[in-house]
Symmetry: C2
Subunit: 106 residues, 2 copies
DNA sequence: AATTATACCTAGATTAATTAGGTTAGATTA
DNA sequence: TAATCTAACCTAATTAATCTAGGTATAATT
């Protein structure tokens, strides 16, 4: 079971991880996150946009407005270097907890 | 870095995991959790007791009042069988997320 | 006598997620 | 051409949770 607390704990990690492999925009991120997580995560827009806005305010990602081939406006996000550092720290924390949990299972 | 969201996501898991290896009481749980996590978690009582009360309300743990050798009152907690099932589900969720994160790192 | 350690508890401020909306515009179908 | 679907963005507000900062009581130690 994926609890909402777990979702909350990885939301930043997921967004930063996906952005690490290239720029993306909100609508596409939703599909990528669903796909890259083997449908484990199927977020709504109302879940993603607040995360994006918070990460941007914290300077872990930055955005520019662009246009799709079809002419629709899009806000592209890319990870900053401080965002990459932050991602590494978050992953480190996640994995160290995982090790503790594994250690407790004996 | 351990974020508070991560802490929140594992608080139930940690308490249930420690209780799985035997009964314990609040004050001792705090020390066990600190010790078993290699000091990764150093919770305050204000963090633990609400978790215990919630888990008890959900019937994942149950409590009885007892007395220490020294004569102090203690509330002992033990995990229920539905708590063991719940713990297994939580661990399953945690590990499946971990696998997604590992997959994203390439 | 005073302090530390043991052992429990809760109120309330803050913070965050999620539901449930809303807007605009291009593409498709009836 | 009207209607619907998909793309693409956004926020308000309810709900729920953490955590700080308290509080009580008693045994042991200095």
């Amino acid at each position: 079971m994926i609890t909402k607390e777990m979702t909350s704990a990885v939301s930043n990690i997921m967004v930063l991880s996906v952005l690490k492999s290239g720029m993306s925009y909100g609508y596409q991120l939703l599909r990528k996150i669903k796909q890259d997580s083997n449908e484990l995560f199927d977020w709504t827009e109302g879940m993603l946009y607040p995360v994006l806005h918070r990460l941007e305010k914290q300077k872990y990602i930055e955005s520019i407005w662009g246009t799709s081939e079809a002419g629709r406006r899009r806000k592209y996000y890319q990870i900053t270097s401080s965002g990459q550092d932050y991602l590494a720290e978050l992953l480190d924390g996640w994995y160290s907890i995982s090790e503790v949990l594994i250690g407790l299972e004996d």
